[in-house]
Symmetry: C3
Subunit: 100 residues, 3 copies
């Protein structure tokens, strides 16, 4: 099966940010996203207890360039004041040309 | 810790396909699967608005051969008429011999 | 964007184990975790039908050392008597220094 090497970005954060993030990720070049409800604790010190039970996990398949732009954006915009985890992984995508 | 290198397939698609997919994935060699509810938008043009709020994400740990067979199958069978994302990643699995 | 190479551990298992696992993972060095509800079948033979509809998927971003410790622990402690899948993947994490 021919696949296309792309990047998967995962952002776990407070549910209240969903609308903002989705709009911004599109502006930065993401062609789509998948959201699952999540809960968690830790990683972010003082905010941890406030986000428990009300998190979202946003996933996007994007090019390396868009991945970089999105991570740069969330690091600058959200990491100081919001509980957020963001990471990137390599993926091999079926019909990956649709995502770039 | 000794782990076994395997493939993780992720398929995000319309919830209505769940029973079909699960049966087919087993027939193609998957020994099990994990499903989470998801929602999303985009990646697939015209169908996007119809799948919002009613998606599933199916994950399977399989051998490279089974991964290839499953991706080939969904690309041929579903990509034309259904909203679907499918990708594969490398994983290192504890007691991975159970999955092949 | 500067990221830090870390490990993502995923454990899919019976929901009844959540409190135990979370406590143990912290003791083993995890600084946080994300949990999503999941359902599934297979991979684990006889227990499969009992865990359907009542699984959790626990994810943690950790160092390679902590990853190893956690996988070792769950393999020894849970794999014999509980339905459980555990695997590790490479991730590139924004502000990854917070996780080690």
């Amino acid at each position: 099966m021919k696949t296309v090497p792309l990047k998967k970005i995962t952002v776990v954060t407070e549910a209240v940010l969903e609308d903002h993030l989705v709009r911004e990720f599109r502006d930065l070049g993401a062609r789509g996203y998948t959201i699952t409800e999540a809960r968690g604790d830790g990683h972010r010190g003082v905010r941890a207890s406030q986000v428990e039970g009300n998190n979202i996990r946003v996933e996007m398949i994007v090019s390396a360039e868009v991945a970089d732009r999105i991570l740069e954006h969330v690091a600058k915009q959200y990491f100081t004041y919001y509980a957020m985890i963001a990471y990137v992984q390599d993926v091999e995508v079926v019909r990956g040309d649709k995502y770039v």
